[in-house]
Subunit: 409 residues, 2 copies
């Protein structure tokens, strides 16, 4: 093996692929020992925390010069040492945790196959897996027909919702922009996720046109306040067009009353979106899917399997009941990529449903995990999570110096 770390080209232009089995084999052993086994051991630390300047001094971060495989392995050891072990049973800070064996395997396989999901020809298997997952999840939501696409996170999925909803109501907006349209307003719970704010700014809708609806003491949207605010907007000649309900708010874990909100949206002809990024996975449990009552009546939903279902970041998707909306809303018909005269059915080329061009394959890890566990495995997990929250709530109630802010279900 030469000292040259690059794949070289011989003088006739042919590629000489060098292999570094030793590096990968040792790294694999290290990952299994120190993250997969060690990092999930409940007696191990979640993180060896260092302040930024301290960590910069401890780690050899500088680039510039080539380095040896042995030094790289030493660095990988440090990376593991100073990183947060999100699979540790004591990791509670964020809305995801755990490390599922099968989705990890799927994520690794994704990386070594390293493809983009925009045309069937370059990702035949993953195109079909995304299709399978979408059909499965549309079915769980209760959309009889519909369409969906995987997105790099829930914030992006919520922005998809804002965009396809305005396109549905004002199809010319794609061509003419927001110019000449009345002020399009969005209503969301004061406890809803901040990505709706980011979306208002990014999509040119403006934060001034976002209206916060009151939440009750349990963090659920106040439906009377929603209706009052819609009427108020109309009286100001503004055009409410979109209501964002939340199924699992970030801080309280509250499920908005979807059925009642759907009544209001129906009455006033508004697009109803459900941000189920975190809590949408309750749909997998017979016991808890009642929290999402009314979901089959809404127009769209965001759902992040990388949260409650435990697949790796990023696994998120946008779903809509409207079958033929994503392609006309997002297409740019790039001739070099989406030729119409391919020798397979080009409806399998999903790229133009997305606002991206190259799109990471986020399906395989979820698909493999689902194949391994089945519906039943997920149901058991979700039920367990709700049980654990009750267990924790009881601990809090019984312990001096602690106060339970909100009762769990």
């Amino acid at each position: 093996m030469s000292n040259n770390k690059s794949n070289g080209y011989s003088s006739n232009g042919s590629l000489v692929v060098e292999t570094h089995h030793h590096f990968l084999d040792e790294l694999y052993k290290m990952m299994v020992k120190d993250v997969y086994d060690g990092g999930r051991n409940r007696d191990s630390k979640v993180v060896e925390f260092k302040h930024p300047k301290e960590l910069e001094a401890l780690m050899d971060l500088g680039l510039n010069k080539e380095t040896s495989d042995d030094n790289l392995l030493k660095i990988c050891q440090d990376i593991i040492k100073y990183s947060v072990k999100t699979g540790n049973p004591h990791f509670f800070n964020q809305l995801w945790s755990g490390l599922d064996d099968y989705s990890l395997g799927g994520a690794w396989l994704t990386e070594v196959l390293n493809t983009s999901v925009y045309t069937y020809e370059v990702s035949p298997v993953f195109t079909l897996m995304e299709k399978t997952l979408i059909e499965k999840m549309l079915n769980l939501i209760g959309f009889k027909d519909g369409d969906a696409i995987f997105t790099p996170g829930g914030s992006m999925a919520n922005m998809y919702a804002l965009n396809v909803a305005r396109y549905k109501r004002f199809p010319d907006v794609k061509k003419t922009g927001l110019y000449g349209l009345p002020k399009l307003c969005v209503l969301t719970s004061e406890k809803g996720h901040y990505s709706i704010k980011k979306g208002m700014a990014f999509l040119g809708l403006g934060l001034d046109n976002l209206v916060n609806v009151k939440a009750d003491s349990k963090g659920k949207m106040d439906v009377q306040d929603l209706e009052d605010k819609i009427l108020q907007l109309q009286s100001e000649s503004k055009v409410p067009y979109f209501v964002n309900a939340t199924a699992g708010t970030t801080v309280y874990g509250a499920y908005d009353p979807l059925d009642k909100i759907a009544d209001i949206c129906q009455k006033y002809g508004l697009w109803m979106h459900v941000d189920g990024a975190w809590g949408g996975s309750a749909l997998l449990s017979k016991k808890y899917r009642g929290l999402m009552k009314g979901i089959d009546r809404v127009d769209s939903m965001t759902w992040n399997p990388h949260k409650m279902m435990g697949s790796p970041l990023q696994t998120a998707a946008f779903f809509t009941r409207h079958k033929n909306l994503l392609p006309p809303c997002h297409s740019a018909n790039a001739a070099y990529l989406f030729q119409q005269d391919k020798f397979y059915d080009v409806s399998y080329d999903t790229g133009d449903k997305s606002i991206q061009c190259g799109r990471k394959n986020d399906s395989l890890k979820l698909w493999l995990m689902w194949k391994a566990k089945g519906d039943q495995g997920f149901e058991r997990d979700i039920d367990n999570l709700f049980e654990c929250s009750r267990y924790l709530a009881n601990l809090v109630k019984e312990r001096d110096g602690f106060e339970l802010v909100i009762e769990v279900r």
Copy 2:
């Protein structure tokens, strides 16, 4: 090992982590044998192509029921069999290829650590690595100061550019939206990437306000036509605000004359963005960075290391010379995440520079690759790629029945 594929919870709520070493070990061996070694063998097939319906019939895609580790391994074998081996030396269809050992290792380590890059506390190492890469790349671009953020692909980075540029010129747009503003127009080469179209629609700017500038026979932007069109827009009381130049067009690989375009942008006070998603990596070569002459004068740039530099999909970033623009433009100040009273310097919390909330760690794989190869390794690779294109051009010229469409440099 129990038959239960899930991590279970015992009756006192403690997590019982089960391990599936056999599955992961066998999968690792398979990935190394059939993708890492076998898939890159130049005598192997790039793909065992099957039409969609045929592949659906061949593969066991249905979910629902739990399945055994052995069956999963069999399925993984099929996934590999029917997927495109993008690391194969004969894979030429798209703008990326190859499979670098170190970035693959980094990508695998990313998956097992499974974290989000929004606050320092949850991703200390990766926050510093992104910072290191950003400083390195800003320096290569020639922005003396500046800011940047990794994005899920180049299309998203181009949309960042459209958004921060309009915010710079009209800071109220975040609050009020596009209402009340004149028609903001964007100019791009007719050979530029289609993501600018997608961005015009998504950001509410409208396709009607996108103006295509002519390209010459080599695919480079016609600077005279650019100036003519700016003047024409002004005469129609429209407001050109943004010029998208391309450093490496998708089809011709043409580099627009950045220096001359910068002159025009300076003259008319327009934001100049360079879509260097594909070709920006020429900056790593002393021999070819002249193609990017003028890049240090522009306002922003998109650069995808997952293309010419060979890191895995997705590795992309948005760079701007304007230091304090990303945070005010994109922030939503979510109180639950970005507390200001943490016990470290919260300027290391980068999440609010992004339009996402959770954000995949895309830095480690590139950082590790850079650490392994050094600047020199990348320079050698880039130089090799240009040499290969000349080699291919010569083959085309000499072979009967082929015609060279455009001379290579």
